[in-house]
Amino acid sequence: MTAPAPRLLVGLEVHLQLKTRTKCFSACPVSTSGEPNALVDAVVLGLPGALPVLNREAVRLAVRTGLALGCTIADVTKWDRKNYFYPDLPKGYQISQYDQPLCVEGAVEIQDDAGGLKRIRIRRAHLEEDTGKSFHDEQGTKSRIDFNRAGTPLLEIVSEPDIASAGEAERYLEALREIVAYVGTSDGNMQAGNMRCEPNVNLVYENGDRTPIVEIKNLNSVHNVGLAIRFETQRQSTAYAERGETGQNTARSTRGWDDVQGTTVHMRAKESADDYRYFPEPDLPPLRLTRAWVEGEREALPELPRARRARYRATLGLSEYDAGVLTASRALADWFEAVLPAPAGARDPKAAANWVSTELLRHLNESETSLAAVGLAPQELGELLDLVSTGTINLKTARDLFRELVADGGSAATLVKQRGLAQVSDEGTLETACQAAIAGQPQAAQEFRAGQEKAFGRLVGAALKALGGKGNPALVQATLRRLLAAPGG
């Protein structure tokens, strides 16, 4: 008899670096580059006599992120010291928040494995300071410490164990990254280290058995988070099946992800909970946030990606795919929406979506440039679309012009006028060109009249060529059919 598959429980602790100009508790600048130990001051280094002073911008960005995650923002919050010794922790304690976090009870919506909508609850998000970085040499005899990162504001976002698969964990992290990038509070980039993630993983069996909770460290990409959870699911399941390992008989532990082997490696057991001797930080008074200020921050939030996608589908009639592509970044979505308004009402959103998601993105990919570097303004693309929709130019001309405009900028209407690119719709000119095409391709004309429809293409091509590529394709086709159908034509 095979036992039913266990249920996977994953809770994620995410540390997010907030994009402030200065550190969380001092006026020392924050930067990702720079010589080691260049971005330090008396507070960051924990020199005797130095006192922390709260950076209000860190609180604002934390609140903004919390609101974007649907959290409740505390009226009164306070700071606590988390005491432990480690060389990259300059003061011997980290200023954090213990029992009164800034943000509580939010949620992130993701797709579950069946494609349905799932809410991953957020238990709390609190503000704290980052540590320095230790570098150990191969022999393990010498260590170097860089304190540049120390004191950078971090928002620690703790989810409930609502995540039920590696795929859900990946999508949760993607959603989180998308949200913080949208609200501009963090880059949310795991490779760059400004988003860090420590999953807590265990399995629950139908008979009530639970495998011991494992915390996984050293994960530097969303992909690796997925790999590590998959590996850990397998490992715990084997340990349960073969050795009967459960939370009852085995201690919680911390395991490190080994990127090369693709495995998790035991680091240490948590025999007893670490005692951080938390107590209220006496150097910083409690922080009171007024309702009005919090509401102001809420109103200043941009539309979040999920809501934006829903609106694109419901009110602009876009496909789910197009809505997803266009909202991949806030900048792209803003750009797209700036194409739509026209002097006479709105432009066709589907046409605009099509141009942005194919032509514009292709250009960005091929030229490896960013949206900010594009020479074309959204309204100029809008004018180009108008020229197409009014039949002034054909699609081929429009694409040629687009390539020129994204590189160099300029007005489509002006270029059309200057170069005489407007498509030919004049009946006389069209008829002359079509007659010339029939005369020049007697074989094709004969085949077409004999019922071979595919010969028609050759005649259209010849007529368009005679018109220098500017002929209105629909009118050319109609004229040709009329002439070919005419008796003695």
């Binding site: 003061k91 304690y93 001797r277 006496p282």
Partner: protein
């Protein structure tokens, strides 16, 4: 004729600032340095004499005056600074081996403000290691002696600052007071020591002992001198988030005349069944003098204000200290004793760097914050502390100021209590609750014992009423007529 250094601070600064008077800042500093040279070998009030710095600052003050600018109300006044306050370019030791070789990179806010007012820093004074103690015997560099009796302690932890002022080496000194560390040594050396309201004076640049209790304040020969230094250093500081302005303080200000003043007599501040006769006598005389001046005595109770204060204090202060002193780990600065691994390096460094009293308090503090004990100790102590602050609030509804002794006894002998930590802790019974409640308190000289040892009395006021407290203390000081006594050894150097 007395040297201007022995007169009121306002007068010496006035003479320095007067362009018509040939008397200079430099001459004040030279006289102070001469006295330190002559006497400090016996007192050991100073850990570091900053002659070059003091002379440079004095010359700058004199140059300012010559250029027609006003260097400020402390122009040229020699100032001693407790060695747990940063003075840029000078060693900062906290009387501890763990800070071996450490030089302060900047001025503490209080030092910068005093110097900006014209003061000249002549040196760093001795203290109990990291300000933990009541006798200055806990200094890693040897004790300071009481100028009135070299066999006795000057009190602590600001014992060096108190001895320097009492011996007339300097007219002003900065100290820090976490549980009485300004007031107790002031009382034992016969001078004035003032602990301001918590938050009144910046702690930026003060090496933290117990952050929620520490406060910087002046030691001086008179209340007026102390008030001058306090005025120069007080006020909110952007570098200290716990400093704040008290202007918005709404409680009615107390009377600042003795006539009609309501003086609280707190049952729990009573000296007990067998009080020291000199201390009891001085206190009784202060009560009588206030009564004669028209003050009214009010009987009060502050239930947690007596002996209960000691356990509250000796939980809260070590708890914060255990965390504040974690940064002294041998990694970035100060002493480092190598070890096999990281744990061994920490243990060796901190074991060798900290003295026994500091280690004891770190252990106590770590214990009371530990999981399983924090509820019984730290959290209960914090709850009691809040209740104590409320009891003080209620007391100040009925009284403008409180009057008490500063210490249970005059100065004790070196070594008398150094082997008994609890006996030493009990020395603070009349001072710690001011820190726990955050209220201002001042010790002023109230005469000498039969054997010539100074005795002080203490006045307390509501948080924020620092200025009013100083005015009342000034009036009482005048009525008492017991100015800071001049030690016999100082007479050797008086001109």
């Amino acid at each position: 004729m007395a040297h201007p250094l022995d007169g009121p601070v306002a007068e010496m600064a006035r003479r320095v600032r007067d362009r018509g008077d040939p008397f200079t800042a430099r001459s004040l500093v030279e006289e102070s340095l001469r006295r330190i040279e002559a006497l400090d070998g016996r007192l050991h009030a100073f850990l570091h004499v900053a002659a070059d710095l003091a002379r440079a600052q004095a010359d700058r003050v004199d140059a300012e005056i010559a250029a027609g600018r006003d260097p400020g109300p402390l122009a040229g006044v020699p100032l001693a600074v407790k060695d747990n306050l940063e003075v840029a370019g000078l060693p900062l030791s906290c009387a501890s081996r763990i800070l071996a070789g450490y030089v302060a990179p900047r001025d503490a806010t209080v030092v910068a403000r005093a110097v900006a007012a014209g003061a000249c820093v002549v040196g760093k004074t001795n203290l109990d290691e990291f300000a933990m103690g009541s006798s200055t015997e806990n200094s890693a560099f040897g004790p300071t002696r009481n100028p009135h009796d070299l066999a006795r302690v000057p009190g602590g932890s600001s014992g060096g600052s108190a001895a320097a002022v009492a011996a007339r080496l300097v007219p002003l000194a900065l100290g820090s007071d976490t549980g009485g560390s300004i007031r107790q040594p002031a009382a034992l050396t016969g001078i004035v020591g003032f602990k301001p309201s918590y938050g009144r004076v910046s702690r930026s640049g003060l090496v933290a002992f117990a952050s929620s209790l520490d406060q910087v304040g002046p030691l001086a020969r008179t209340v007026a001198d102390a008030a001058l230094l306090h005025a120069a250093i007080e006020g909110p500081d952007p570098a200290d988030a716990t400093s704040h302005a008290f202007e918005a303080f709404r409680a009615p200000a107390p009377r600042t005349a003795l006539e009609g003043l309501r003086v609280g007599r707190v049952a729990e501040f009573d000296l007990g069944a067998n009080p020291d006769p000199d201390v009891a006598g001085a206190l009784a005389r202060a009560r009588r003098v206030l009564g004669e001046a028209g003050a009214r005595e009010v009987e009060l109770s502050i239930p947690l204000g007596g002996a209960a204060g000691i356990p509250i204090y000796y939980i809260v202060a070590p708890a914060e200290a255990s965390s504040n002193l974690a940064r002294f780990d041998g990694i970035r600065y100060g002493l480092r004793v190598p070890g096999e691994d990281l744990e061994a390096l920490y243990a060796a460094t901190r074991g060798a760097g900290f003295g026994p009293e500091v280690r004891r308090r770190i252990l106590v503090g770590t214990f009371v914050l530990s999981a399983g004990y924090a509820d019984a100790y730290y959290k209960r102590a914090m709850a009691a502390r809040r209740a104590l602050a409320q009891q003080f609030e209620r007391a100040f509804e009925r009284a403008d100021v409180l009057l008490s002794a500063t210490t249970p006894t005059p100065a004790f002998r070196l070594g008398e209590k150094s082997s008994d930590p609890v006996a030493m802790y009990v020395c603070d019974v009349l001072t710690v609750v001011a820190n726990l409640a955050g209220v201002p308190a001042i010790s002023i000289p109230a005469g000498v014992s039969a054997t010539g040892l100074p005795v002080g009395v203490q006045l307390w006021a509501r948080a924020g009423h620092d200025t009013q407290l100083l005015r009342i203390a000034h009036l009482l000081e005048g009525r008492l007529g017991t100015p800071a006594p001049i030690p016999a050894l100082t007479r050797e150097v008086l001109a």
